[in-house]
């Protein structure tokens, strides 16, 4: 069940990504419609984060390409926003909440320019949207996990992008934060933005997303939630790894073999 759409905002074409020559994603080929709240779902080690990182051009791809708004990502960076995993940075960094959210404006500012009044307003507005305006001057080292996540979200919002890619925004946050975030994401979707979220909780997936990508080293399904979250497809996703696939991957790494003939 892999549904391709007309005029996609995101097009992933035959994407293979490897770590140390071992492919962790095999031939992913999918398209996403505009204005969708998309969940990327699969077991641990399925390559969910890898997919997002590859789309954001943070990882080298072994083969395939990605187009966003029918352009290479380098051309449309200003319209894309990324929320990395909370643990990917050291929160004991000497900065305030506001400093971090303001980083969301750096892309628009360009080199040498200092943030203008309008940028500061935008950052404050973003903080308001995630309910953290009272924490603007707080040191980031003093935040709880849920608050850190909101700060990252606010930074992405400050970018005013059209597509958002979020890596596990619900990991380690409390229920209140999770509810607040999903409300926010729904509003964004209703404004016509596309939001792609890596998510590990199958229970809430059906309620949260209107488009779901099932992943386990390869693409199992991509389509509207009600058509994708079926018993059969979930069993295919969670029913263990394809042993042949991972054995071949191991071979490629051991033999130092390229995943495509040069």
């Amino acid at each position: 069940m892999i549904l391709q759409v007309e005029n996609p905002v995101v097009e992933v074409h035959d994407l293979t990504v490897s770590y140390d020559r071992k492919p962790v994603l095999w031939g992913v080929d999918l398209t996403l419609p505009a204005g969708a709240l998309v969940g990327v779902i699969g077991p641990n080690g399925a390559g969910k984060s890898t997919l997002i990182k590859a789309i954001m051009d943070l990882l080298p791809v072994s083969s395939g390409y990605i187009r966003i708004f029918d352009q290479p990502i380098k051309e449309v960076r200003k319209r894309i926003s990324y929320v990395p995993q909370r643990e990917s940075v050291d929160w004991d960094f000497p900065a305030s909440v506001f400093d971090v959210v303001l980083m969301g404006r750096y892309g628009k500012l360009g080199f040498f320019n200092r943030p203008r009044r309008a940028d500061k307003d935008a950052a404050m507005e973003a903080l308001q949207k995630v309910g953290m305006q009272a924490y603007a001057e707080r040191q980031i080292s003093q935040l709880s996990g849920g608050q850190q996540q909101r700060v990252f979200l606010a930074r992405a919002l400050a970018q005013n992008a059209d597509i958002y890619f979020m890596d596990e925004p619900f990991a380690g946050v409390d229920i209140a934060t999770e509810t607040a975030i999903i409300e926010l994401l729904r509003t964004m979707r209703d404004e016509g933005k596309t939001v792609v979220v890596v998510h590990h909780d199958l229970q809430s997936a059906a309620a949260y997303f209107n488009w779901v990508i099932l992943l386990n080293m390869r693409l199992v399904a991509s389509g509207p939630t009600d058509q994708v979250l079926t018993q059969e497809l979930l069993e295919k996703t969670y029913g263990g790894k394809l042993t042949v696939l991972s054995k071949v991957g191991d071979l490629l790494r051991k033999q130092e073999f390229p995943s495509r003939e040069a």
């Binding site: 943070l58 990395p84 400093d99 980083m103 080292s141």
Partner: protein
């Protein structure tokens, strides 16, 4: 004293030069070091510092002069090369970065020493003074050298100001920087280049061996005082500048004293002081906090015991002896009288000859501790499914740290209970 006024009047041109040089070199490397520290690449500076030596020697061998620009160029090339090699080793092999740094550092330094020794035995008269690069020679910071190095140091400072926002983002969240279209590789290159330059000018003052201290120590010390990056940069620069000046002063008053090592010693002293006395993070303030906690626990335990002594007959304000308290709870006698005296000063107990009694406030506070203790015991049995004989120890600690807001919340969740798990009334 006259040394002091003489030095700080800066009438002696030599003093002026050496001081300006030391201050500029120390503060510029301190500022660059802040970013290295925050990028968690503190050791890289050390590798560069050692790798600079073969460059200096080669530049001298090829040119035959000690022109600072040429030596600087040679230093820059090998310093830079060492970083490239570290990068290549880490990305192309299974060797981790720390191992790669160790390898590169020793190989480059070994070659440097080899070249230096062979130059020294070549009989070339012009070579004298080249060994100063090992431990530095701030006193030689005069004339053309001073101008070259000062200009580079100033450029470093300007660069960090101009690229402040870019460097900050690079250090905090490299991946994000990439996704908003920052040329991350170029920025890395910039920071690397700044580090190499800081090292290259710094070794004039402190030498290759001690250079790492100039990069990292002020940054680490400044980090203890502030949570604001701008302030951290300014503090590190000031600490660097101060140690530079102090180092110059020491070697002025005692000419046998080398400037570079003194600069490093002084900045290290500043760092140690920071680790010890910085508010919040320093160990003195942490020890202070622990002491305060300990005395608070003692006081509250005493109030609790005195409250409990009054519980059977509801006679909370009867006088008690120290032995009454000791029967109830094993606290050393000296600690009891120390705690009681403190409580008296604070107005929670009164003393009447050899016996003590609670005041109204003392009774209230004692009651609160007892209440918190029993509430917590109840909470543990109800929400954590612990057996009622397993909860006392835990409650002994928790009773001292629960805030009024948490207390409210506890009451709510337990639905305003009356009895604790041991069937004692919750006051």
């Amino acid at each position: 004293m006259s040394d002091f006024t003489e030095f700080f009047s800066f009438t002696d041109a030599n003093v002026r030069y050496v001081t300006i040089g030391s201050v500029l070199l120390a503060s510029s490397s301190a500022v660059v070091g802040c970013f290295s520290l925050l990028r968690k690449r503190a050791l890289v500076g050390d590798a560069v510092a050692h790798a600079v030596l073969p460059g200096v020697c080669l530049a001298f061998m090829l040119s035959g002069t000690k022109n600072p620009l040429i030596l600087l160029l040679g230093a820059f090339i090998t310093g830079w090369l060492s970083l490239v090699v570290i990068d290549v080793i880490t990305s192309r092999s299974r060797i981790k970065e720390d191992t790669a740094i160790g390898l590169v550092l020793s190989v480059f330094f070994g070659i440097g020493i080899l070249l230096l020794t062979s130059i020294q035995h070549s009989g070339n008269a012009a070579q004298s003074g080249l060994d100063k690069f090992l431990f530095g020679n701030a006193a030689a910071l005069i004339g053309e050298d001073l101008i070259v190095f000062s200009v580079v140091a100033l450029l470093l400072l300007v660069c960090t100001i101009v690229f402040y926002k870019e460097l900050m983002l690079l250090c905090f969240d490299e991946a994000y920087a990439h996704t908003i279209g920052y040329p991350v590789r170029a920025l890395e290159l910039l920071l690397t280049t700044l580090t190499v330059f800081a090292v290259v000018v710094g070794i004039q003052a402190v030498g290759v061996v001690l250079m790492a201290a100039m990069l990292i120590t002020p940054a680490a010390a400044a980090r203890f005082w502030t949570e604001n990056l701008r302030l951290m940069l300014v503090l590190a620069a000031l600490m660097g500048a101060f140690s530079g000046m102090a180092g110059a002063f020491v070697s002025y008053t005692a000419p046998a004293m080398p400037t570079g090592p003194w600069i490093v010693l002084i900045i290290s002293m500043i760092a140690i002081t920071s680790f010890a006395f910085a508010p919040g993070k320093g160990w003195v303030s942490r020890m202070w906090k622990q002491r305060r906690n300990k005395s608070r626990v003692l006081e509250e335990n005493l109030l609790k015991v005195m409250y409990q002594l009054g519980e059977p007959n509801q006679d909370y304000f009867t006088s008690r002896n120290i032995t009454d308290i000791m029967e109830r709870r094993q606290i050393p006698k000296r600690a009891i009288s120390r705690g009681l005296n403190k409580l008296r000063r604070e107005g929670y107990v009164q003393k009447d000859r050899q016996s003590w009694m609670l005041t109204r406030q003392g009774q209230t506070r004692g009651m609160r501790v007892v209440r918190l203790h029993r509430l917590w015991e109840l909470y543990l049995t109800q929400f954590l499914e612990l057996a009622s004989d397993h909860v006392h120890e835990d409650a002994e600690t928790i009773e001292h740290i629960i805030t009024p807001e948490l207390e409210q919340k506890l009451m709510q969740e337990l639905e305003y209970p009356v009895l604790d798990p041991h069937n004692n009334r919750i006051p």
